[in-house]
Symmetry: C2
Subunit: 146 residues, 2 copies
DNA sequence: TGTATTTGCATAGCAAGCTATGTAATGATA
DNA sequence: TATCATTACATAGCTTGCTATGCAAATACA
C-alpha cells in the first residue's frame, strides 16, 4: 500500500494553498493586512453592517474563528462593532474609513498573488483550471452539508 | 477595482485545501493520526533515520514547524529520537513499531479523502487536473527560491 | 406567564503554520 | 590554537483554523 503525494490532488492542493497564502501575505503586508482579514474585507466591501454569524456563514468559517479574526480587525482599526438595533445578542460589523480606502490597493495586491499562480499555466488552460477548481469546491462543500 | 473570489484560483485552492484537510483528518482520526503527522510518516516510511532538517527540507516546511510536529509525534508514540552518530547537534528520527504498522491503514484513509476530491471531476479530466496542479506547485516552489 | 430551547457571541485550549531568537556543536580560518 | 561563522535544534510568540463550553438574549410553548 503506497501513498504517492506527487499524484495526490489533496497533497498538491495543500502545497499550493500554503505557497499561495505566503505570496498573498507578502503582497498584502505593506498595507498592514493579513490574508484572513482581506477575505473578511471582501465580504464587507460588498455590504457592511452584517452580523458575525452572517459573515461566518458567507465565508464557510466557524463562528469562533470569525470572532477571533474580527477581534484582531477591530484591534487593527479595520472594523467597528455596534449593537444590533433589532437583536440584543448580535452586533453589526462596520468598516472604518481606513478599511474602505484599502479596497483598491488590497484588491490589486490579491490579484497580483493570483497572477503568480495562474502564470504556471498557458492561458488556454486557465479557464478550464478555474472550472475544475469550482466544481471540486462545490462538490466538497455539498458533501459537507448533505 | 474588484476581487471576485469565485474566479480566483488562489481563493478556490485555499477553500479546497481546508475542506480536504477536514476530510483527511476525519479519515485519519480513528488511527490516532493527524494530517500533519501523516505527511511526516510518508517520508519516514520510505526511509527513517533522517534528521529533522532533512525532513523539513523534504516537506518544504520550516525547521521550527518540524520540531513542534516531531515533538507531538514523539509524545504520541510515533517516533523516537536518537543522537546522531556523526554529529552531536542533530538527532535521527526513527519510527516506532506502531507507526510502521500504520502504513497501510493510514494510506488507505488518505486515499479515501483524495477520492472524495477527485470524485468531483469526470475521470477523463483527472489526469489533466493532476498535471495542472503539479505544474502550479513546481512553478510556485521555484519562484520562492529563485 | 413561566420554563425550555435556540441563537449569537466570547473564551479556552489545541494544532500547525510562521518568524525571530537563543544555545550548543561543528567547521573554517587567522 | 583561538576565534568566528555556520548549522541543528529548541523555544517563544504570533495567526488562523478547529472543537467545546458558558452566558445572555430571543423565541417557542405548555
Amino acid at each position: 500500500m503506497m501513498f504517492d503525494k506527487s499524484r495526490s490532488a489533496g497533497a498538491l492542493v495543500s502545497d499550493i494553498a500554503r505557497l499561495h497564502a505566503a505570496e498573498q501575505q507578502r503582497a498584502l503586508a505593506p498595507l498592514g493586512l493579513s490574508r484572513a482579514q482581506f477575505v473578511v474585507l471582501c465580504e464587507l466591501w460588498l455590504a457592511d453592517g452584517m452580523t458575525q454569524r452572517e459573515l461566518a456563514n458567507g465565508l464557510g468559517l466557524e463562528q469562533a474563528t470569525m470572532a477571533n479574526t474580527l477581534a484582531r480587525m477591530q484591534r487593527d482599526g479595520l472594523v467597528t462593532r455596534k449593537p444590533h438595533p433589532d437583536d440584543g445578542r448580535s452586533q453589526q460589523i462596520w468598516l472604518t474609513e481606513w478599511a474602505r480606502d484599502l479596497r483598491d490597493p488590497a484588491s490589486r495586491a490579491a490579484l497580483e498573488a493570483d497572477g503568480l499562480l495562474a502564470a504556471a499555466l498557458p492561458s488556454a488552460e486557465r479557464e478550464l483550471f478555474l472550472s475544475m477548481l469550482s466544481r471540486v469546491t462545490a462538490n466538497l462543500r455539498s458533501g459537507k452539508t448533505g
